[in-house]
Symmetry: C2
Subunit: 390 residues, 2 copies
């Protein structure tokens, strides 16, 4: 299909996300040898910057892999055949914890209250009460499949009360949704480069507490590439344990500097406001939000598609408008549209996404009040006063 | 000023204009030696592609200069002290012809019906009747200072009737406004790389008829860098007369291929529709258009700013929103805003420009129906059916 000359490309998925020009430019620098001093300096700088984004004093272990690799590292380092574990799953990425735990032979308790639900920390408390042997709890910060951001602070408190380790998949959450690893007492936070860290896919991270690292050290073997002890020892020497994805480090260095410059609190506040503007636009169009998003749901907004359009056609219709956004996964296929605002996104991106939604729904036969969604989102930005007043 | 993290950068001036990613990428190739065969091939290909955009069989002479350099080439090659000439000026760029003719000592008739006016070809006819000695008429296709696109076809007919050469400044017009040089009988068309040709500034062009080239050859001297005979002879040998702006040729080659791929008629139609959508959005906001734009005014839309805002603040307010657009020049300073849609622009760019206008006017205290302008423009695109239906 020849693209229409009337359209440009707008990437509105929750990963990969748009890469800031300064990051792309940095990655175009000549290739570095990963044992040369120039890479050593870059590596140390990136490793020094990462803990700030996790709000932790932990070393953040870096893997050249996708986010799922870092998720696997948590299971591979903490779960043996027969290890009692609890997995919280209210969407597709929560279910990945179940798959991983099963692959590693955990004695697994699965809590699956249904997609779109926000996990109730009281349920976690009750489950740990009923299963006192559980050593590790696996949870999700931002459930990308539904847009729900879970209350990790309260879940962490429940895990602490029962002396279980808490591992959080924050692949799409880190840098987009409020997370204070040390203050909340989260043992392990897993993340990826390609979401709110504004870098192409290929790097993944595990921010590991000393307590979790000790647990892993006490049970060696059964893993190699994702072994935390090896990574931690190598990083402490300023060397990558394996050949690192060099250009991604060049990019991530710049992306982390952008986050530092904006300030993490401001970054979170921006994500909150972008999400609020999208929700206002969606509601102004007479549409409904999927599940029960609140102000925490800052990563991706899931929208219930109206009954009079063939929902399965919405992503393709948007794609022909140049807008790449996700539909629903699994049972939600054809039922929802997900608009991401995680990473390098600004106000006009949201207005473009809403314009695209208005045009797409109109094309699919739904009666649309053109401009109503965009106008409502404009008013949210205006009231917040974030678009510098004159 | 630290830019707001809520905003990205949107270039909406009528030159330089946004550069397509494929053009930027081509310009990042390793530097070529301009006498090496690889540059020779590139040069021939670009020179072979240029006449298509001018709808001419003329050689298109290329200068490494800004557009004003190519304008000067026309005066330097056609005007001597005492040469009778007629300059048509209804805006700042028309007035540049007057300045150039005066600098070269022309015996000048100036026709200045006022900014924002579309030149009446009957007036040109009457002036040439009254001044039968006029050898050259200087006109403007797209008057960037007012948004008006002049009726060059009818002006050319008048010039032909009186056996005068017609030189047209199409710096912002070529590739954005309908122009059929040979069919209309225009002797010289001057253009630049940085407008609808979607390439950074630095290359300028003069498409010169054989009749105009002969006139220049008959009166040598008084010019060197911009001498048409030297350029024509050198280009005919496949060599640039001076060191060319190599990377700009790399970019222009790709940009011209994009125009060929879209098709020049389609490119013009796209500009017409983008302009129509912007006009509809402006009117839906209760604003007025400056001057008397019609379907020809496809390069830049000039908007009368409402009396209740300080018009001088509009460009700065937009700039803080990340949108770079021009205010008025000279007497129009503070009175108009100009939104460009010339070159690499698509539908969502216009929606962004209108969102920005809505937000900026609201910030400056004007009552705005948020989304009304965007919605009206969306409807223009929907009715035209150019955004591929499902």
């Amino acid at each position: 299909m020849t693209p229409s000359p009337y359209i440009k490309q707008y990437l509105m998925t929750a990963g990969p996300t748009p890469v800031p020009p300064a990051v792309s430019q940095a990655m175009a620098a000549p290739m570095l040898y990963h044992r040369a001093p120039a890479f050593g300096e870059l590596y140390e700088r990136v490793l020094g910057r990462l803990p700030g984004v996790f709000a932790t004093a932990n070393p953040v272990l870096a893997f050249s892999s996708s986010g799922s690799g870092a998720m696997e590292s948590a299971v591979a380092n903490l779960v043996r055949p027969g290890t009692p574990a609890l997995a919280l799953a209210a969407g597709r990425f929560g279910e990945r914890w179940i798959e991983l735990c099963e692959a590693y032979g955990a004695d697994l308790v699965s809590h699956q209250p249904g997609w779109g639900v926000r996990i109730d920390p009281a349920d976690v408390d009750a489950l740990l009460e009923r299963h006192p042997g559980v050593e590790v709890v696996f949870a999700t910060l931002s459930e990308t499949s539904t847009g729900i951001v879970h209350d990790i602070q309260a879940i962490a408190a429940a895990a602490r009360r029962h002396d279980a380790l808490l591992v959080v998949d924050a692949v799409s959450g880190v840098g987009a949704a409020r997370l204070l690893q040390d203050e909340w007492g989260v043992d392990v936070v897993v993340a990826g480069s390609q979401k709110a860290l504004m870098t192409p896919p290929g790097l993944a991270f595990a921010s590991v507490s000393e307590r979790a690292l000790e647990r892993a050290r006490a049970r060696p073997g059964g893993r190699f590439y994702f072994d935390w002890s090896r990574s931690a020892a190598s990083q402490a020497r300023g060397a990558s344990p394996f050949t690192p994805a060099v250009s991604l480090y060049l990019g991530l260095d710049v992306a982390l500097a952008l986050i530092e410059q904006e300030g993490l609190e401001n970054v979170w506040a921006r994500h909150e406001l972008l999400a609020r503007a999208v929700r206002a636009g969606v509601l102004a169009l007479g549409l409904e939000l999927y599940g029960d998003p609140d102000d925490r749901s800052t990563v991706v907004t899931a929208i219930e598609l109206p009954a009079d359009v063939d929902g399965a056609k919405v992503p393709g219709t948007l794609r022909r408008l140049g807008i790449t956004a996700n539909g629903g996964q699994d049972a939600l296929k054809g039922r929802i549209l997900r608009i991401a605002h995680c990473g390098y996104f600004g106000a006009f991106d949201m207005l473009t996404a809403l314009s695209g939604l208005e045009i797409a729904l109109d094309q699919l036969g739904h009666a649309v009040d053109h401009g109503a969604g965009v106008g409502a989102a404009q008013r949210v930005f205006a009231e917040a006063g974030v678009l510098a007043p004159a």
